[in-house]
Protein backbone atom coordinates (compact mmCIF):
# COMPACT_ATOMS: atom_id res chain seq x y z
CA UNK A 1 0.00 0.00 0.00
CA UNK A 2 1.40 3.42 -0.86
CA UNK A 3 1.88 6.05 1.81
CA UNK A 4 -0.84 8.25 0.42
CA UNK A 5 -3.46 5.52 0.33
CA UNK A 6 -2.55 4.52 3.85
CA UNK A 7 -3.00 8.10 5.02
CA UNK A 8 -6.42 8.40 3.44
CA UNK A 9 -7.43 5.10 5.03
CA UNK A 10 -6.27 6.22 8.46
CA UNK A 11 -8.17 9.47 8.13
CA UNK A 12 -11.37 7.74 6.98
CA UNK A 13 -11.08 5.30 9.84
CA UNK A 14 -10.58 8.15 12.30
CA UNK A 15 -13.51 10.12 10.84
CA UNK A 16 -15.79 7.10 11.02
CA UNK A 17 -14.81 6.50 14.63
CA UNK A 18 -15.50 10.14 15.47
CA UNK A 19 -18.93 10.05 13.83
CA UNK A 20 -19.89 6.80 15.57
CA UNK A 21 -18.82 7.82 19.08
CA UNK A 22 -22.11 9.54 20.06
CA UNK A 23 -23.99 6.24 19.51
CA UNK A 24 -22.22 4.81 22.53
CA UNK A 25 -22.44 7.88 24.74
CA UNK A 26 -26.04 9.00 24.19
CA UNK A 27 -27.14 11.23 27.06
CA UNK A 28 -23.79 10.76 28.75
CA UNK A 29 -22.07 13.85 30.14
CA UNK A 30 -18.88 12.56 28.50
CA UNK A 31 -20.33 13.72 25.19
CA UNK A 32 -20.01 17.24 26.56
CA UNK A 33 -16.35 16.56 27.39
CA UNK A 34 -15.82 15.28 23.83
CA UNK A 35 -17.16 18.60 22.48
CA UNK A 36 -14.29 20.34 24.26
CA UNK A 37 -11.83 17.69 23.12
CA UNK A 38 -12.86 18.74 19.61
CA UNK A 39 -12.36 22.47 20.25
CA UNK A 40 -8.98 21.83 21.88
CA UNK A 41 -7.97 19.58 19.00
CA UNK A 42 -8.64 22.43 16.56
CA UNK A 43 -6.54 24.77 18.73
CA UNK A 44 -3.71 22.26 19.18
CA UNK A 45 -3.55 21.62 15.44
CA UNK A 46 -3.50 25.38 14.82
CA UNK A 47 -0.54 25.78 17.15
CA UNK A 48 1.13 22.64 15.83
CA UNK A 49 1.20 24.03 12.30
CA UNK A 50 3.33 26.86 13.63
CA UNK A 51 5.31 25.02 16.29
CA UNK A 52 5.66 21.54 14.89
CA UNK A 53 5.96 22.30 11.18
CA UNK A 54 7.67 25.68 11.02
CA UNK A 55 9.43 25.38 14.39
CA UNK A 56 8.23 28.81 15.53
CA UNK A 57 7.00 29.02 19.09
CA UNK A 58 3.98 31.02 20.23
CA UNK A 59 3.17 31.51 23.89
CA UNK A 60 0.26 33.78 23.12
CA UNK A 61 -2.08 31.63 21.10
CA UNK A 62 -4.86 31.89 23.64
CA UNK A 63 -5.12 35.53 22.49
CA UNK A 64 -6.32 34.52 19.00
CA UNK A 65 -8.73 32.01 20.56
CA UNK A 66 -10.02 34.83 22.75
CA UNK A 67 -10.21 37.27 19.87
CA UNK A 68 -12.44 34.88 17.91
CA UNK A 69 -14.63 34.26 20.92
CA UNK A 70 -14.99 37.96 21.80
CA UNK A 71 -15.64 39.17 18.25
CA UNK A 72 -18.38 36.56 17.85
CA UNK A 73 -19.72 37.20 21.33
CA UNK A 74 -19.74 41.00 21.19
CA UNK A 75 -21.28 41.29 17.71
CA UNK A 76 -23.94 38.62 18.04
CA UNK A 77 -25.15 39.93 21.41
CA UNK A 78 -25.54 43.46 20.02
CA UNK A 79 -26.49 43.23 16.37
CA UNK A 80 -28.93 40.92 14.59
CA UNK A 81 -26.22 39.63 12.25
CA UNK A 82 -25.99 36.05 11.06
CA UNK A 83 -23.62 34.32 13.56
CA UNK A 84 -22.07 32.24 10.76
CA UNK A 85 -21.12 35.43 8.96
CA UNK A 86 -19.62 36.77 12.18
CA UNK A 87 -17.47 33.65 12.50
CA UNK A 88 -16.01 34.44 9.10
CA UNK A 89 -15.55 38.07 10.13
CA UNK A 90 -13.81 37.03 13.39
CA UNK A 91 -11.50 34.69 11.50
CA UNK A 92 -10.62 37.44 9.02
CA UNK A 93 -9.94 39.94 11.83
CA UNK A 94 -7.70 37.51 13.74
CA UNK A 95 -5.92 36.63 10.51
CA UNK A 96 -5.38 40.29 9.65
CA UNK A 97 -4.00 41.02 13.13
CA UNK A 98 -1.69 38.00 12.94
CA UNK A 99 -0.51 39.05 9.49
CA UNK A 100 0.29 42.58 10.63
CA UNK A 101 2.12 41.66 13.84
CA UNK A 102 3.59 38.57 12.19
CA UNK A 103 6.17 40.52 10.22
CA UNK A 104 7.95 42.15 13.17
CA UNK A 105 7.34 39.25 15.60
CA UNK A 106 8.54 36.41 13.38
CA UNK A 107 11.73 38.26 12.60
CA UNK A 108 12.68 37.22 16.14
CA UNK A 109 13.96 33.76 16.91
CA UNK A 110 13.94 31.25 19.74
CA UNK A 111 13.70 32.73 23.21
CA UNK A 112 13.05 36.22 21.88
CA UNK A 113 10.13 35.00 19.80
CA UNK A 114 8.76 33.18 22.85
CA UNK A 115 8.91 36.31 24.98
CA UNK A 116 7.42 38.54 22.27
CA UNK A 117 4.44 36.23 21.69
CA UNK A 118 4.01 35.93 25.44
CA UNK A 119 3.98 39.73 25.73
CA UNK A 120 1.40 39.93 22.93
CA UNK A 121 -0.78 37.35 24.71
CA UNK A 122 -0.65 39.28 27.98
CA UNK A 123 -1.47 42.59 26.30
CA UNK A 124 -4.54 41.00 24.67
CA UNK A 125 -5.53 39.46 28.00
CA UNK A 126 -5.31 42.88 29.67
CA UNK A 127 -7.44 44.36 26.87
CA UNK A 128 -10.11 41.63 27.32
CA UNK A 129 -10.14 42.46 31.02
CA UNK A 130 -10.12 46.24 30.88
CA UNK A 131 -12.44 47.16 27.99
CA UNK A 132 -15.38 46.55 30.30
CA UNK A 133 -17.86 48.39 28.07
CA UNK A 134 -17.27 45.92 25.25
CA UNK A 135 -16.25 42.64 26.85
CA UNK A 136 -17.91 42.89 30.23
CA UNK A 137 -14.48 42.79 31.84
CA UNK A 138 -13.51 40.12 34.36
CA UNK A 139 -17.16 39.19 35.05
CA UNK A 140 -17.54 38.08 31.44
CA UNK A 141 -19.98 38.33 28.56
CA UNK A 142 -23.18 36.30 28.68
CA UNK A 143 -26.22 35.72 26.52
CA UNK A 144 -24.33 34.73 23.38
CA UNK A 145 -26.84 32.98 21.08
CA UNK A 146 -26.43 29.36 19.98
CA UNK A 147 -25.67 28.67 16.36
CA UNK A 148 -28.44 27.29 14.17
CA UNK A 149 -29.08 26.08 10.63
CA UNK A 150 -32.74 26.67 9.86
CA UNK A 151 -34.61 24.99 12.71
CA UNK A 152 -31.62 22.89 13.79
CA UNK A 153 -30.33 24.63 16.91
CA UNK A 154 -26.93 23.69 18.32
CA UNK A 155 -27.90 23.86 21.97
CA UNK A 156 -27.40 20.31 23.17
CA UNK A 157 -24.34 18.08 23.52
CA UNK A 158 -25.19 15.81 20.58
CA UNK A 159 -25.67 18.65 18.09
CA UNK A 160 -22.66 20.51 19.41
CA UNK A 161 -20.58 17.35 19.11
CA UNK A 162 -21.30 17.02 15.41
CA UNK A 163 -20.89 20.76 14.86
CA UNK A 164 -17.45 20.89 16.50
CA UNK A 165 -16.16 17.64 15.10
CA UNK A 166 -17.19 18.54 11.58
CA UNK A 167 -14.96 21.59 11.89
CA UNK A 168 -12.24 19.51 13.57
CA UNK A 169 -12.22 16.91 10.79
CA UNK A 170 -12.05 19.61 8.11
CA UNK A 171 -9.15 21.32 9.91
CA UNK A 172 -7.39 17.95 10.28
CA UNK A 173 -7.83 17.11 6.62
CA UNK A 174 -6.58 20.50 5.47
CA UNK A 175 -3.60 20.32 7.83
CA UNK A 176 -2.61 16.83 6.70
CA UNK A 177 -2.93 18.05 3.13
CA UNK A 178 -0.80 21.09 3.90
CA UNK A 179 1.95 18.99 5.45
CA UNK A 180 2.23 16.89 2.28
CA UNK A 181 2.32 19.90 0.02
CA UNK A 182 5.18 22.01 -1.27
CA UNK A 183 4.46 24.52 1.50
CA UNK A 184 4.59 21.81 4.15
CA UNK A 185 8.00 20.67 2.93
CA UNK A 186 9.23 24.26 2.82
CA UNK A 187 8.04 24.78 6.41
CA UNK A 188 9.88 21.67 7.58
CA UNK A 189 12.97 22.94 5.82
CA UNK A 190 12.68 26.21 7.78
CA UNK A 191 12.33 24.14 10.93
CA UNK A 192 15.54 22.23 10.23
CA UNK A 193 17.58 25.22 9.13
CA UNK A 194 16.16 28.54 8.09
CA UNK A 195 19.43 29.48 6.46
CA UNK A 196 19.50 26.35 4.32
CA UNK A 197 15.85 26.83 3.38
CA UNK A 198 16.55 30.38 2.23
CA UNK A 199 19.48 29.22 0.19
CA UNK A 200 17.22 26.68 -1.53
CA UNK A 201 14.90 29.51 -2.52
CA UNK A 202 12.27 29.27 0.20
CA UNK A 203 10.94 32.70 1.11
CA UNK A 204 11.13 31.95 4.83
CA UNK A 205 9.99 35.36 5.99
CA UNK A 206 6.68 35.40 4.10
CA UNK A 207 6.06 31.72 4.71
CA UNK A 208 6.45 32.06 8.48
CA UNK A 209 4.01 34.98 8.53
CA UNK A 210 1.55 33.02 6.38
CA UNK A 211 1.57 29.96 8.61
CA UNK A 212 1.25 32.24 11.68
CA UNK A 213 -1.81 33.78 10.04
CA UNK A 214 -3.34 30.40 9.17
CA UNK A 215 -2.72 29.30 12.71
CA UNK A 216 -4.41 32.42 14.11
CA UNK A 217 -7.42 31.96 11.81
CA UNK A 218 -7.86 28.35 12.97
CA UNK A 219 -7.63 29.45 16.62
CA UNK A 220 -10.17 32.23 16.08
CA UNK A 221 -12.67 29.79 14.49
CA UNK A 222 -12.29 27.56 17.53
CA UNK A 223 -12.89 30.65 19.67
CA UNK A 224 -16.12 31.54 17.86
CA UNK A 225 -17.40 27.97 18.20
CA UNK A 226 -16.49 28.03 21.89
CA UNK A 227 -18.38 31.28 22.44
CA UNK A 228 -21.56 30.01 20.74
CA UNK A 229 -21.46 26.67 22.55
CA UNK A 230 -20.73 28.08 26.01
CA UNK A 231 -22.98 31.17 25.48
CA UNK A 232 -20.77 32.76 28.17
CA UNK A 233 -17.13 33.82 27.97
CA UNK A 234 -14.73 35.48 30.40
CA UNK A 235 -11.07 36.52 30.09
CA UNK A 236 -9.91 33.75 32.44
CA UNK A 237 -10.30 31.21 29.60
CA UNK A 238 -7.91 33.12 27.34
CA UNK A 239 -4.95 33.86 29.60
CA UNK A 240 -1.33 32.82 29.78
CA UNK A 241 -2.20 29.54 31.49
CA UNK A 242 -4.32 28.45 28.56
CA UNK A 243 -1.53 29.27 26.12
CA UNK A 244 0.69 26.98 28.18
CA UNK A 245 -1.98 24.28 28.25
CA UNK A 246 -2.13 24.41 24.44
CA UNK A 247 1.64 24.14 24.28
CA UNK A 248 1.49 21.11 26.58
CA UNK A 249 -1.10 19.44 24.32
CA UNK A 250 1.10 19.89 21.26
CA UNK A 251 4.29 18.74 23.00
CA UNK A 252 2.68 15.68 24.58
CA UNK A 253 1.02 14.59 21.35
CA UNK A 254 4.10 15.24 19.30
CA UNK A 255 5.44 18.21 17.39
CA UNK A 256 4.35 18.03 13.79
CA UNK A 257 1.87 15.20 14.26
CA UNK A 258 -1.78 15.98 13.52
CA UNK A 259 -3.14 12.87 15.26
CA UNK A 260 -0.68 13.65 18.06
CA UNK A 261 -2.41 16.98 18.57
CA UNK A 262 -5.72 15.15 18.88
CA UNK A 263 -4.16 12.75 21.41
CA UNK A 264 -2.63 15.60 23.41
CA UNK A 265 -5.89 17.56 23.40
CA UNK A 266 -7.86 14.47 24.39
CA UNK A 267 -5.52 13.62 27.27
CA UNK A 268 -5.37 17.13 28.69
CA UNK A 269 -9.11 17.70 28.34
CA UNK A 270 -10.20 14.35 29.79
CA UNK A 271 -7.66 13.86 32.60
CA UNK A 272 -9.30 16.43 34.89
CA UNK A 273 -12.66 14.73 34.31
CA UNK A 274 -11.40 11.36 35.44
CA UNK A 275 -9.17 12.44 38.27
CA UNK A 276 -10.94 14.73 40.67
CA UNK A 277 -7.68 15.10 42.64
CA UNK A 278 -6.21 16.44 39.42
CA UNK A 279 -7.93 19.76 40.15
CA UNK A 280 -5.19 20.90 42.52
CA UNK A 281 -2.36 19.01 40.95
CA UNK A 282 -3.00 19.88 37.32
CA UNK A 283 -0.45 22.67 37.11
CA UNK A 284 2.29 20.48 38.65
CA UNK A 285 1.43 17.61 36.33
CA UNK A 286 1.53 19.88 33.25
CA UNK A 287 4.95 21.10 34.34
CA UNK A 288 6.27 17.58 34.87
CA UNK A 289 4.77 16.40 31.56
CA UNK A 290 6.48 19.24 29.67
CA UNK A 291 9.87 18.52 31.26
CA UNK A 292 9.74 14.72 31.02
CA UNK A 293 8.33 14.62 27.50
CA UNK A 294 10.97 17.03 26.20
CA UNK A 295 13.74 15.10 27.92
CA UNK A 296 12.75 11.53 27.21
CA UNK A 297 10.20 11.54 24.39
CA UNK A 298 10.95 14.62 22.29
CA UNK A 299 8.83 13.28 19.43
CA UNK A 300 5.72 13.10 21.61
CA UNK A 301 3.46 10.18 22.47
CA UNK A 302 2.65 9.12 18.91
CA UNK A 303 6.25 8.64 17.82
CA UNK A 304 7.16 7.36 21.30
CA UNK A 305 4.58 4.59 21.04
CA UNK A 306 5.76 3.78 17.52
CA UNK A 307 9.35 3.55 18.72
CA UNK A 308 8.46 1.31 21.66
CA UNK A 309 6.40 -0.91 19.36
CA UNK A 310 9.27 -1.20 16.86
CA UNK A 311 11.71 -1.87 19.66
CA UNK A 312 9.65 -4.69 21.19
CA UNK A 313 8.92 -6.12 17.75
CA UNK A 314 12.65 -6.22 17.02
CA UNK A 315 13.29 -7.76 20.43
CA UNK A 316 10.72 -10.51 19.89
CA UNK A 317 12.05 -11.15 16.41
CA UNK A 318 15.58 -11.36 17.80
CA UNK A 319 14.50 -13.79 20.49
CA UNK A 320 12.66 -16.10 18.14
CA UNK A 321 15.54 -16.17 15.68
CA UNK A 322 17.92 -16.90 18.55
CA UNK A 323 15.71 -19.77 19.66
CA UNK A 324 15.65 -21.13 16.13
CA UNK A 325 19.44 -21.15 16.00
CA UNK A 326 19.87 -23.08 19.25
Amino acid sequence: MTGKKRQILIFLFFAAAVLLVPLFFKGNYLLNVFVFVGINTILAIGLNLLLGYAGQISLGHAAFFGLGAYISGIITTRFPLDPWLVIVLAAVCAGALAFVIGFPILKLKGHYLAMATLGFGIIMYIIFNETVGLTGGPSGLSGIPNLHIGSLIFDNDLNNYYLVWLFTLVVMLLSINLSQSRIGRALRAINDSEMAARVMGVNARILKVQIFTVSAVISAIAGSLYAHIMTFISPASFGFNFSIELLTMVVIGGLGSIYGSFLGAAILTMLPEFLRVFQDFDIIIYGLMLILMTMFMPGGLISGIQKIAEFTAAKIKGMTSNNAQT
Binding site: H111, F240, D280, I285
Partner: protein
Amino acid sequence: MDSSRQLFQYILSGLSNGAIYALIGFGFAIIYNSTGIINFAQGEFVMLGGMLTVFFLTVLHLPLIPAIVLAILISTIVGISFERLAIRPLKNAKPLSLIIITIGASIFIRGAAMLIWGKDTHAMPAFSGNDPLYLAGATILPQHLWIFAVTILIIIASRIFFNYSIIGKAMRACSYNSQAASLVGINVKNMVLLSFAISSAIGSMAGIIIAPLTMTSYDVGIMLGLKGFCAVIIGGMSSGLGTVLGGLLLGLLESLGAGFISASYKDAIAFIILLLILFVRPEGLFGKKESERF
Protein backbone atom coordinates in the same frame (compact mmCIF):
# COMPACT_ATOMS: atom_id res chain seq x y z
CA MET B 1 2.87 72.38 44.12
CA ASP B 2 0.62 69.44 44.82
CA SER B 3 1.16 67.90 41.43
CA SER B 4 4.93 68.23 41.66
CA ARG B 5 4.80 66.40 44.99
CA GLN B 6 2.69 63.72 43.35
CA LEU B 7 5.17 63.47 40.50
CA PHE B 8 8.00 63.03 42.97
CA GLN B 9 6.02 60.27 44.69
CA TYR B 10 5.48 58.45 41.38
CA ILE B 11 9.17 58.75 40.54
CA LEU B 12 10.16 57.36 43.91
CA SER B 13 7.90 54.32 43.76
CA GLY B 14 8.82 53.84 40.11
CA LEU B 15 12.50 53.76 40.94
CA SER B 16 12.05 51.26 43.76
CA ASN B 17 10.02 48.91 41.53
CA GLY B 18 12.61 49.52 38.84
CA ALA B 19 15.41 48.42 41.15
CA ILE B 20 13.59 45.13 41.68
CA TYR B 21 13.11 44.66 37.93
CA ALA B 22 16.81 45.38 37.47
CA LEU B 23 17.78 42.68 39.98
CA ILE B 24 15.51 40.13 38.33
CA GLY B 25 16.82 41.14 34.92
CA PHE B 26 20.33 40.65 36.21
CA GLY B 27 19.45 37.04 36.98
CA PHE B 28 18.25 36.55 33.38
CA ALA B 29 21.41 38.04 31.97
CA ILE B 30 23.77 35.90 34.09
CA ILE B 31 22.21 32.66 32.86
CA TYR B 32 21.81 33.91 29.29
CA ASN B 33 25.44 34.96 29.05
CA SER B 34 26.78 31.63 30.29
CA THR B 35 24.36 29.30 28.47
CA GLY B 36 22.39 31.21 25.84
CA ILE B 37 19.21 30.13 27.65
CA ILE B 38 16.47 32.51 28.69
CA ASN B 39 15.32 30.96 31.91
CA PHE B 40 11.54 31.24 31.97
CA ALA B 41 11.61 29.97 35.56
CA GLN B 42 13.51 33.07 36.74
CA GLY B 43 10.38 34.66 38.20
CA GLU B 44 9.67 31.58 40.30
CA PHE B 45 12.88 32.11 42.27
CA VAL B 46 11.65 35.60 43.06
CA MET B 47 8.42 34.06 44.33
CA LEU B 48 10.33 31.39 46.29
CA GLY B 49 12.42 34.05 48.02
CA GLY B 50 9.37 35.90 49.30
CA MET B 51 7.26 32.84 50.14
CA LEU B 52 10.06 30.98 51.94
CA THR B 53 10.90 34.02 54.06
CA VAL B 54 7.23 34.43 55.01
CA PHE B 55 7.09 30.73 55.83
CA PHE B 56 10.16 30.84 58.09
CA LEU B 57 8.98 34.02 59.79
CA THR B 58 5.38 33.14 60.47
CA VAL B 59 5.33 29.34 60.73
CA LEU B 60 8.74 28.58 62.20
CA HIS B 61 9.02 31.94 64.01
CA LEU B 62 12.64 32.46 63.05
CA PRO B 63 14.16 35.92 63.37
CA LEU B 64 14.37 37.96 60.17
CA ILE B 65 18.01 37.43 59.21
CA PRO B 66 18.15 33.62 59.58
CA ALA B 67 14.82 33.46 57.71
CA ILE B 68 16.24 35.46 54.80
CA VAL B 69 19.48 33.47 54.70
CA LEU B 70 17.60 30.16 54.75
CA ALA B 71 15.19 31.36 52.05
CA ILE B 72 18.04 32.35 49.75
CA LEU B 73 19.83 29.09 50.48
CA ILE B 74 16.81 26.95 49.63
CA SER B 75 16.01 28.93 46.45
CA THR B 76 19.62 28.48 45.37
CA ILE B 77 19.41 24.74 45.98
CA VAL B 78 16.24 24.63 43.86
CA GLY B 79 18.10 26.53 41.13
CA ILE B 80 21.05 24.15 41.26
CA SER B 81 18.84 21.05 41.20
CA PHE B 82 16.94 22.48 38.24
CA GLU B 83 20.18 22.84 36.29
CA ARG B 84 21.45 19.39 37.26
CA LEU B 85 18.19 17.52 36.67
CA ALA B 86 16.70 19.24 33.64
CA ILE B 87 19.22 21.45 31.85
CA ARG B 88 22.49 19.51 31.98
CA PRO B 89 21.12 16.17 30.69
CA LEU B 90 20.00 17.95 27.50
CA LYS B 91 23.13 18.29 25.46
CA ASN B 92 22.95 20.30 22.26
CA ALA B 93 19.21 20.76 22.67
CA LYS B 94 17.30 23.02 20.31
CA PRO B 95 16.19 26.36 21.73
CA LEU B 96 12.60 25.17 21.43
CA SER B 97 13.25 22.25 23.82
CA LEU B 98 15.04 24.52 26.28
CA ILE B 99 12.17 27.00 26.24
CA ILE B 100 9.66 24.24 26.87
CA ILE B 101 11.77 22.76 29.68
CA THR B 102 12.20 26.04 31.52
CA ILE B 103 8.47 26.77 31.12
CA GLY B 104 7.76 23.29 32.49
CA ALA B 105 10.04 23.95 35.45
CA SER B 106 8.41 27.31 36.02
CA ILE B 107 4.88 25.94 36.27
CA PHE B 108 6.11 22.96 38.27
CA ILE B 109 7.71 25.20 40.91
CA ARG B 110 4.65 27.45 40.95
CA GLY B 111 2.34 24.45 41.33
CA ALA B 112 4.45 23.02 44.15
CA ALA B 113 4.35 26.39 45.95
CA MET B 114 0.57 26.46 45.55
CA LEU B 115 0.21 22.99 47.06
CA ILE B 116 2.52 23.76 49.98
CA TRP B 117 1.39 27.27 50.88
CA GLY B 118 -2.07 27.52 49.32
CA LYS B 119 -3.49 30.23 47.11
CA ASP B 120 -3.63 32.96 49.76
CA THR B 121 -1.71 36.19 49.58
CA HIS B 122 0.75 36.54 52.43
CA ALA B 123 1.99 39.73 54.04
CA MET B 124 5.56 40.10 55.16
CA PRO B 125 6.59 42.62 57.84
CA ALA B 126 8.86 45.42 56.67
CA PHE B 127 12.50 45.10 57.70
CA SER B 128 12.52 48.21 59.84
CA GLY B 129 9.00 49.36 60.56
CA ASN B 130 6.38 51.14 58.52
CA ASP B 131 6.89 54.71 59.76
CA PRO B 132 7.22 56.80 56.62
CA LEU B 133 10.05 59.25 56.25
CA TYR B 134 9.35 62.59 54.62
CA LEU B 135 11.58 63.68 51.82
CA ALA B 136 10.92 66.90 49.92
CA GLY B 137 7.22 66.56 50.58
CA ALA B 138 6.97 62.94 49.40
CA THR B 139 6.69 59.99 51.74
CA ILE B 140 9.24 57.25 51.54
CA LEU B 141 9.03 53.97 53.43
CA PRO B 142 12.10 52.50 55.11
CA GLN B 143 11.57 49.48 52.90
CA HIS B 144 12.21 51.63 49.82
CA LEU B 145 15.58 52.53 51.27
CA TRP B 146 16.28 48.85 51.90
CA ILE B 147 15.46 48.09 48.28
CA PHE B 148 17.82 50.77 46.97
CA ALA B 149 20.58 49.74 49.37
CA VAL B 150 20.37 46.01 48.63
CA THR B 151 20.17 46.60 44.88
CA ILE B 152 23.22 48.86 44.85
CA LEU B 153 25.13 46.40 47.04
CA ILE B 154 24.33 43.41 44.85
CA ILE B 155 25.27 45.29 41.70
CA ILE B 156 28.60 46.48 43.12
CA ALA B 157 29.34 43.01 44.49
CA SER B 158 28.60 41.29 41.20
CA ARG B 159 30.63 43.86 39.31
CA ILE B 160 33.64 43.14 41.53
CA PHE B 161 33.01 39.41 41.24
CA PHE B 162 32.78 39.34 37.45
CA ASN B 163 35.64 41.77 36.84
CA TYR B 164 38.21 40.93 39.49
CA SER B 165 37.77 37.39 40.86
CA ILE B 166 39.22 34.47 38.96
CA ILE B 167 35.91 32.55 38.97
CA GLY B 168 34.04 35.61 37.75
CA LYS B 169 36.51 36.06 34.94
CA ALA B 170 36.21 32.36 34.07
CA MET B 171 32.42 32.76 33.84
CA ARG B 172 32.84 35.70 31.50
CA ALA B 173 35.23 33.68 29.39
CA CYS B 174 32.55 31.01 29.03
CA SER B 175 30.04 33.59 27.91
CA TYR B 176 32.34 34.83 25.15
CA ASN B 177 33.29 31.41 23.87
CA SER B 178 32.67 28.30 25.92
CA GLN B 179 34.78 26.07 23.69
CA ALA B 180 37.82 28.31 23.98
CA ALA B 181 37.21 28.59 27.72
CA SER B 182 37.26 24.82 28.12
CA LEU B 183 40.50 24.68 26.10
CA VAL B 184 42.27 26.87 28.64
CA GLY B 185 41.12 24.57 31.43
CA ILE B 186 37.90 26.19 32.63
CA ASN B 187 35.28 23.70 33.74
CA VAL B 188 32.38 25.02 31.67
CA LYS B 189 29.81 22.72 33.29
CA ASN B 190 30.62 24.07 36.73
CA MET B 191 30.41 27.62 35.49
CA VAL B 192 26.93 26.96 34.08
CA LEU B 193 25.90 25.45 37.41
CA LEU B 194 27.33 28.45 39.22
CA SER B 195 25.45 30.86 36.97
CA PHE B 196 22.18 29.13 37.86
CA ALA B 197 23.13 29.30 41.56
CA ILE B 198 23.99 33.02 41.47
CA SER B 199 21.00 33.89 39.37
CA SER B 200 18.51 32.07 41.63
CA ALA B 201 20.12 33.63 44.72
CA ILE B 202 19.81 37.16 43.28
CA GLY B 203 16.25 36.43 42.13
CA SER B 204 15.19 35.24 45.57
CA MET B 205 16.82 38.27 47.18
CA ALA B 206 14.75 40.51 44.90
CA GLY B 207 11.63 38.61 45.95
CA ILE B 208 12.47 39.05 49.62
CA ILE B 209 13.02 42.80 49.57
CA ILE B 210 9.90 43.57 47.52
CA ALA B 211 7.58 41.26 49.50
CA PRO B 212 6.91 43.70 52.40
CA LEU B 213 5.66 46.31 49.89
CA THR B 214 3.57 44.23 47.53
CA MET B 215 2.67 41.12 49.56
CA THR B 216 3.45 37.75 48.07
CA SER B 217 1.62 34.69 46.82
CA TYR B 218 2.39 31.58 44.80
CA ASP B 219 1.77 33.33 41.49
CA VAL B 220 3.70 36.61 41.81
CA GLY B 221 6.59 35.06 39.89
CA ILE B 222 5.03 35.30 36.43
CA MET B 223 4.60 39.06 36.34
CA LEU B 224 7.80 39.92 38.21
CA GLY B 225 9.80 37.55 36.03
CA LEU B 226 8.39 39.05 32.85
CA LYS B 227 9.04 42.60 34.03
CA GLY B 228 12.62 41.60 34.85
CA PHE B 229 12.91 40.25 31.34
CA CYS B 230 11.59 43.55 29.98
CA ALA B 231 14.29 45.33 31.98
CA VAL B 232 17.03 43.21 30.54
CA ILE B 233 15.67 43.59 27.01
CA ILE B 234 15.51 47.38 27.36
CA GLY B 235 19.04 47.47 28.70
CA GLY B 236 20.51 44.76 26.51
CA MET B 237 21.73 41.33 27.62
CA SER B 238 25.38 42.17 27.22
CA SER B 239 25.44 45.25 29.41
CA GLY B 240 25.32 44.96 33.20
CA LEU B 241 24.83 48.66 33.81
CA GLY B 242 22.34 48.71 30.92
CA THR B 243 20.17 46.20 32.76
CA VAL B 244 20.07 48.45 35.81
CA LEU B 245 19.16 51.48 33.71
CA GLY B 246 16.61 49.40 31.82
CA GLY B 247 14.99 48.30 35.07
CA LEU B 248 14.84 51.84 36.47
CA LEU B 249 13.47 53.19 33.18
CA LEU B 250 10.78 50.50 33.07
CA GLY B 251 9.82 51.16 36.69
CA LEU B 252 9.59 54.90 36.06
CA LEU B 253 7.55 54.63 32.85
CA GLU B 254 5.21 52.15 34.48
CA SER B 255 4.66 54.26 37.55
CA LEU B 256 4.19 57.49 35.59
CA GLY B 257 1.93 55.71 33.10
CA ALA B 258 -0.18 54.27 35.89
CA GLY B 259 -0.35 57.65 37.61
CA PHE B 260 -1.11 59.90 34.67
CA ILE B 261 -2.65 57.67 31.99
CA SER B 262 -4.46 54.69 33.44
CA ALA B 263 -3.78 52.46 36.40
CA SER B 264 -5.62 49.51 34.87
CA TYR B 265 -3.23 49.37 31.92
CA LYS B 266 -0.13 49.50 34.15
CA ASP B 267 0.98 45.97 33.27
CA ALA B 268 0.31 46.50 29.57
CA ILE B 269 2.79 49.39 29.48
CA ALA B 270 5.71 47.08 30.26
CA PHE B 271 4.77 44.66 27.50
CA ILE B 272 4.16 47.33 24.91
CA ILE B 273 7.65 48.66 25.66
CA LEU B 274 8.96 45.08 25.45
CA LEU B 275 7.42 44.53 22.01
CA LEU B 276 8.57 47.92 20.70
CA ILE B 277 12.15 47.32 21.80
CA LEU B 278 12.16 43.78 20.41
CA PHE B 279 10.83 45.04 17.08
CA VAL B 280 13.02 48.10 16.72
CA ARG B 281 16.21 47.45 18.65
CA PRO B 282 16.45 43.86 19.89
CA GLU B 283 20.00 44.35 21.15
CA GLY B 284 18.63 46.77 23.76
CA LEU B 285 19.04 50.49 24.19
CA PHE B 286 22.44 50.18 25.83
CA GLY B 287 23.70 46.88 24.45
CA LYS B 288 26.22 46.14 21.78
CA LYS B 289 24.92 44.75 18.54
CA GLU B 290 25.04 40.99 18.38
CA SER B 291 24.02 39.05 15.34
CA GLU B 292 22.93 36.03 17.41
CA ARG B 293 19.67 37.64 18.44
CA PHE B 294 18.33 37.66 14.92
